[in-house]
Amino acid sequence: MSSEPITDLRAWLREQLLEHVPAGWDITPGLPEKLGKLSRTTVYLEYTTFDPTDLPPGHVSAGVDLLVASRLEDMTKGENDVDDAVLDLVLALDQIIDTHPVLSWRGEPATKEQLGAGPNLCWRIKVAAIASLTRPTPTPDPVPGTPEE
């Protein structure tokens, strides 16, 4: 398979994850500016590195951190909950990586942390995805004076 355009990468990864994680999870590209109360198990997809090393021109290895967070704010309950959730996420990623050779583990151990220093615990898992450095064809600007549809 071909690599995804860099601009579509997180949306593609989100689509793949939705097929494999338990129903009802929320998967969000990027962390919101202000974290509110979580209503469900949430996975945030965060870009962390871009590395063209060893790749042919026009491609980059994008490091994506997946933060899977428990909705529970109680430390003990939240820890048990997020430990179950991370196993679901690891199994989902294993299936996706098996099917799509443009995705790989980054070779760094997953770590547990507090999401945005708040009360929710999360696991941070690091993956890498080969993406092509292309942009979608730009939509031409509307001619001035033309009413918007």
């Binding site: 071909s2 690599s3 050779p101 443009v102 995705l103």
Partner: protein
Amino acid sequence: MAEIAAAPVFVKMPVQIGSNGQTAHIRSATLTPSTRVERYTDVGGNDHVVGADTVAWQLALDAIQDHATATGLQRFMLSNIGVELSCTATVPGGSYAFKIIGSPLPAGGTGGSLATGTMTYEAFDVVFTAAGS
């Protein structure tokens, strides 16, 4: 001149040795081709370079040491020393079929480290088939 787009991927090459898939036993597998060029000078004193029409292949395996699984890679190799084994290595876009001569992988190593071993086999009758062909 057409500029050909590329589809780079991370290494994914499940390996079948004999009739069983042994991918779970193998950390790294590389099929390496090599060819040679022959140079000679004819009786007229002209130099010639001729590319050999055959390619020699080697299969390098870095595998875990699993002596407990009866049908695992090491036990299979120990039971098939000197035997011609048919293999398949599947890559995104196709697969390589080839043969090797059975030979066991290393045993032991530094205490406390992960038990693994590397071995290089001569691979022959190598044929690549593109996916869907």
